[in-house]
């Protein structure tokens, strides 16, 4: 009688031993058939015998195919075995690679489009570029590269150049460019969202003296966002029986698509912007405003009491907080005198002290008011009543699961990025570093590495993204630090505190601009005081965080660090 052990029960069907045996046998069979067929073919050739097509097929072609098949199976088994291990080791590399890939794609695209624009501009009769139209021909592209000062009409070009010309030709069409850039933005939003999900969990863990996700991926659970996404995509697709089906299915996309469209007018730098619209700011604000509709409809269509409460709270809260948020945005718009995001960003190139938040005390206060209102507009704690998981079991997304739930979260993190990006654009110097851009003017027009250095040191999309991520961190930090407040307190804070405050600030800024001369002693003093206050806030934050990190063992006792798998 055989005794079964736990090992027998949990032994996987596809054990490593079995796999090795399969690989050996398939490889042996494949090699034998191949060598046999080859020998037979050589013998036939030597003896000068020709075979009929039937025998040729049966004797030579079929065995060859079989041999290749066997070797392919070996390859497939090996690849399958390796892939799992590879994915586990390489998740970090994959993540960083995709982020770098997106940045490189955007950079390459901007260089490529610039090149094509120069070719178009070099034509003797410049043509208007339309979405479908464009009359640049490949010959002209070849001529652009082949032309020399001695012979401007030269057509002698290597064939490789012709190939390059065919590759460059399609990029004269705006539609194609927009398509590529839209894909880049979609990729950026996806990576940001999956990164922010992991980041949020790590920060939450650290704030609560634990580790957070540690398993997936190599280092510190880097791939947790990707793993969560994969898990959500393959979950069952559930629509509650009494829900309003079509509306229920549509709602997540009504949340996500407007936020994604807002990236249309959000500039990452003076050149990295899809459309620098004259009404860009209003458009971004409007698109952020209409994702409320998706949330409300989601709560309504779920046919669930808690979802309904969540939807009602969203309707009340987000519509109210739009007003202080929009009015706080009006202050920098008044100071800049334009609604065009690119122009507002360009104003703040003169270094740390010219950032709009430090230009007057009213703007400094407005930056704070805007940040609080933006927390509420993104439904983030302490204003996360619509989804309050301890009262409403998730609020408007109680009934959602799987892919649609993931779409809600992508929308939320994308909205957080847009809101923080607006704060950076309007108050915190947009894409400029704290150093005055005028210091780097000699670099700005230099060779490619000099321009790269300029982008890294003085003004470039990296600064915009870094500053936005810093504000994103504050959003996460506040969520895990502050308790949720009651709904009546939320409404009180909006209608009776923040609304009058923004109105007073608006009035104050108006009188400031009318009465205080911009070069006078008062304006200078206010600028210095505000700059020092801002610097003090940042320094206090960095100093406290550093002190806390250095004294972490004393502060929280034996930290979870000691329980790391490797220590």
């Amino acid at each position: 009688m055989t005794e079964f052990t736990a090992q027998d029960v949990i032994r996987p069907r596809w054990s490593p031993a079995l796999r090795a045996r399969a690989i050996r046998r398939f490889m042996l069979a494949g090699l034998i058939i191949m060598i046999g067929t080859g020998v037979a073919a050589v013998c036939l050739e030597i003896f000068g015998r020709s075979l009929s097509p039937l025998w040729l097929t049966v004797g030579i072609v079929l065995p060859s195919v079989l041999a290749f098949g066997a070797l392919f199976v070996v390859f497939a088994i090996t690849a399958h075995a390796l892939l799992g291990r590879l994915l586990k080791r390489l998740a970090f590399v994959l993540f960083i690679g995709s982020l770098a890939g997106i940045v490189l794609t955007a950079w390459g695209a901007s260089l490529l489009f610039g090149l094509v624009d120069r070719i178009v501009a070099a034509r003797p009769d410049p043509i208007a570029q339309t979405i479908f139209g464009g009359e640049l021909t490949t010959d002209e592209i070849v001529r652009f590269f082949a032309a020399t000062p001695e012979d401007p009409k030269a057509l002698e070009a290597p064939p490789a150049l012709e190939f390059v010309a065919y590759l460059l030709w399609p990029w004269q069409f705006r539609l194609l460019r927009d398509l590529v850039l839209a894909l880049v933005i979609l990729g950026f939003v996806s990576v940001t969202a999956s990164f922010a999900i992991w980041w949020e969990r790590k920060v939450a863990g650290r704030i609560q003296s634990r580790l957070g996700p540690m398993r997936v991926g190599g280092w510190h659970g880097w791939a947790q966002g990707i793993a969560d996404g994969l898990k959500l995509v393959q979950k069952e697709d559930i629509v509650p029986g009494r829900a309003d089906g079509p509306v229920f299915r549509l709602a997540p996309y009504l949340v996500f698509i407007p936020v994604l469209t807002a990236f249309l007018a959000l500039p990452f730098s003076d050149r990295w912007v899809l459309r620098d619209l004259e009404v860009g700011l209003v458009l971004v604000l409007g698109l952020l405003g209409i994702d409320v509709i998706g949330v409300i409809l989601a709560g309504w269509a779920s046919h669930n009491k808690w979802s309904m409460y969540g939807a009602l709270r969203v309707a009340a809260q987000m519509v109210s907080y739009e007003i202080p948020m929009g009015m706080a945005l009006l202050l920098p718009v008044m100071a800049a005198g334009t609604l065009r995001p690119g122009a507002i960003g360009a104003l703040q190139s003169g270094g740390f002290h010219t950032w709009l938040a430090f230009c007057s005390p009213f703007l400094f206060a407005a930056a704070g008011v805007y940040f609080v209102a933006s927390l509420a507009a993104c439904k983030r704690a302490p204003f996360d009543l619509p989804e309050a998981e301890s009262e409403l079991t998730g609020g408007f997304h109680t009934e959602y699961s799987g892919f649609r739930w993931a779409v809600f979260f992508f929308g939320e993190y994308a909205a957080m990025f847009v809101v923080c990006g607006l704060a950076v654009l309007l108050f915190l110097g947009a894409w400029h570093s704290p150093l005055p851009a005028s210091w780097g003017e000699s670099l700005a027009g230099g060779s490619w590495w000099q321009r790269g250095l300029y982008a890294l040191l003085f003004s470039g999309p990296a600064w915009f993204i870094a500053k936005t991520y810093a504000l994103l961190f504050v959003h996460i930090w506040l969520r895990w630090t502050l308790p949720r407040i009651r709904i009546d307190q939320v409404m009180y804070a909006c209608v009776q505190v923040m609304l009058p405050m923004t109105m007073l600030l608006l009035l104050g800024q108006m009188f400031w601009q009318l009465l205080v001369p911009p070069d006078g002693i008062t304006a200078r003093a206010a600028n210095i005081v505000c700059t020092l206050a801002g610097a003090a806030i940042v320094a206090a934050f960095v100093g406290t965080a550093g002190w806390g990190y250095l004294n972490r063992r004393r502060l929280v006792g034996p930290l979870a660090v000691n329980h790391l798998p490797g220590s």
Binding site: D139, D244, V279, V282, L283, G289, I293, W300, M318, E322
Partner: protein, 204 residues
């Protein structure tokens, strides 16, 4: 838009695909796709957005659930915002999104939620009402379209005006339209107080 025109577009697209671009892109002055298709993006976008607005408007009439009607209204508002963009009224499009879609519509949905006894509450019209309504509506539509079609709109067009800017609109509001502007702010104040009082007056 005539039938033969539509056919020629399809044929042109097919030919374009079949010849795979670069063949005619080689020639120094070969016909570009713009010449072949004769499409203007404006026309394509107008038919897309206008179609969306029309479908949503008809959906508003036909659907019996109020929330669906609000959803259709949302679609129509978005499509009309797109049409404003086509008409070079960028600021108006943004305002349409903020005030109409983000504000008014949310208030309407809020009203629906607070005023329905059950989620699936339906208010059905009687068949006679439906028939009469459809007849009147179609008659009115026919009359309007005939009236619009009778007039030759092409004559007397001024030179295409330069697209008005936000700057110009702001100036106009504070000069030419100063009185209506101030009146509307007074109205908004009255409405704010009135609506708050009305909504709270039933409470003891």
């Amino acid at each position: 838009m005539t039938g033969s025109n539509r056919l020629s577009i399809v044929a042109a697209v097919l030919v374009w695909l079949a010849r795979a671009g670069p063949v005619w892109a080689r020639g120094p002055r070969g016909p570009g796709p713009a010449d072949w298709i004769g499409i203007e993006l404006e026309a394509v976008m107008f038919y897309l957005l206008g179609g969306l607005a029309a479908v949503c408007a008809v959906g508003c009439v036909l659907s019996s659930r109020v929330v669906r009607m609000a959803l259709f209204l949302f679609g129509a508002l978005g499509a009309v915002a797109g049409l404003y963009l086509l008409l070079h009224a960028n600021f108006l499009a943004a305002i349409q999104l903020i005030v109409y879609a983000g504000g008014t519509l949310v208030v309407i949905i809020f009203g629906i939620m607070l005023s329905s006894a059950s989620a699936a509450a339906r208010y059905r019209a009687r068949p006679a009402e439906k028939a009469a309504g459809a007849a009147v509506g179609l008659l009115l539509l026919a009359g309007l379209v005939t009236a619009v079609g009778r007039i030759d709109w092409s004559e007397g067009i001024a030179a295409a005006p330069s697209a008005p800017t936000v700057d110009g609109l702001g100036r106009a509001l504070l000069t030419t339209y100063l009185v209506p502007f101030e009146l509307s702010s007074v109205l908004l104040l009255a409405v704010m107080i009135g609506a708050a009082w009305l909504a709270g007056s039933g409470r003891k």
